[in-house]
């Protein structure tokens, strides 16, 4: 019995995925949906109270590098190998493309302390957030997208995101919600 219990224990310890705290704390709205977030290759868009967006690319080193190459190509930024390696480790992107290079060159501690003023830009002329999604899909069309929005996010921001996703014909995604508590 001891052997079996320790075997199980080891198994659960190894398979447990600890959730990494988000860049900024968001409170997700509640819903009655009981569907759990699937285990797919997931990219996440985080939208905070003050309308900033963060983009979390898929957790896959080689595909992240391809994504960075594609984004760099589009925005005319050349990344060194060191920066690419750094990019595979970042939790999420919260800066415009022209600041990304600088952000990647920060030290670990500075990165943690770094608070983005702008987030990833998304407006009618500068749709970098949509480009991140689109380029990720170019790397691997099987990616899924989850949107994690704060309850206080203003609707026009949400609408801009949805409209942008419609523009690139990416129509099915998930909204991360929390379990509805009994009233």
């Amino acid at each position: 019995m001891t052997d079996v219990s320790f075997l199980l224990l080891t198994f659960f310890i190894l398979t447990a995925q600890f959730n990494v705290p988000d860049v900024e704390t968001v409170t997700t709205p509640s819903s009655i949906s009981e569907k759990l977030l699937p285990d797919a290759s997931l990219m996440t868009v985080l939208s905070t109270t003050d309308g900033k967006f963060y983009f979390t690319p898929v957790d896959n080193g080689t595909e992240r590098m391809q994504l960075l190459d594609k984004m760099g190509e589009k925005y005319g930024v050349k990344f060194t190998d060191k920066e690419k390696v750094e990019f595979t480790k970042v939790q999420s992107v919260g800066v415009p493309m022209n600041q990304l290079k600088g952000y990647l060159n920060l030290s670990e501690d500075d990165k943690k302390a770094f608070k983005s003023q702008t987030g990833v830009p998304l407006d009618s002329t500068n749709k970098q957030l949509i480009d991140w999604v689109q380029k990720s899909l170019e790397v691997n069309p099987d990616y899924k997208l989850a949107v994690k929005g704060d309850v206080e996010t203003k609707y026009p921001k949400v609408k801009a995101l949805f409209e942008g996703l419609r523009d690139i014909d990416f129509l099915k995604f998930w909204l991360i919600t929390s379990q509805e508590v009994a009233q």
Partner: protein, 191 residues
């Protein structure tokens, strides 16, 4: 915790036991702990997944020629919900001519409010299979309201609903209503 049991062999006339018996280690507390940890990790693995809600957006027509002709929905078969600021929600079943500050009614986001309104409107609808909910969030709405309404669609099992921009004449009435009425009805819930 492990206790080593050594037999006391002080009996005078008693049979002298073999001292070579290996000491017993009580494993019970260790197993208890192991099972406790198993339980913990099992719970952690299943509970750290957040819930999700499916959302499918309508595709944008590629060019103007493919745009389907605008379908006119019978007013009694549809209800327009206008999501305003401070968690307020308004509804009407009227057209431009009939809508004014009195006919734009307000309700709340809870079960007694919007759920009832939708159910009643559906019960009144001429063709219940085509009952459509038109959701019009204003720019004052927040993401929570939007998710709440989508949730409401799931609760009332309305498959047909559309999210669209508020029309200018509705916006005008809404502005009047929000601006005109004193904050007598505070936000339903502000959690």
């Amino acid at each position: 915790m492990a206790e080593v049991q050594v037999k006391d062999s002080s009996g005078k006339g008693g049979k002298v036991r073999s001292q070579k018996q290996p000491p017993h280690v009580d494993l019970t507390p260790m197993v208890d702990l192991a099972f406790l940890l198993i339980t913990f990790f099992m719970l952690v693995t299943t509970f750290n997944k957040p819930n999700v809600m499916d959302l499918g957006l309508p595709a944008k027509p590629k060019d103007k020629t493919q745009t389907p002709p605008p379908t006119e929905i019978d007013l009694s078969n549809s209800i327009s919900l206008i999501i305003g600021k401070d968690n307020r929600i308004f509804y009407h079943q009227l057209d431009q001519a009939g809508l004014n500050e009195q006919t734009l009614q307000e309700t709340s986001f809870d079960r007694e409010g919007i759920t009832k309104v939708i159910e009643q409107a559906k019960a009144r609808a001429k063709d219940q299979t085509k009952f459509t909910v038109i959701i019009k969030p204003t720019d004052d709405a927040v993401y929570k309201n939007f998710v709440d309404i989508l949730d409401e669609m799931a609760i009332t099992k309305n498959e047909i609903y559309g999210i669209t921009d508020i029309k200018s004449w509705e916006q005008a009435i809404y502005d009047k209503k929000v601006g005109g009425s004193a904050p007598a009805a505070p936000a339903a819930d502000t959690n």
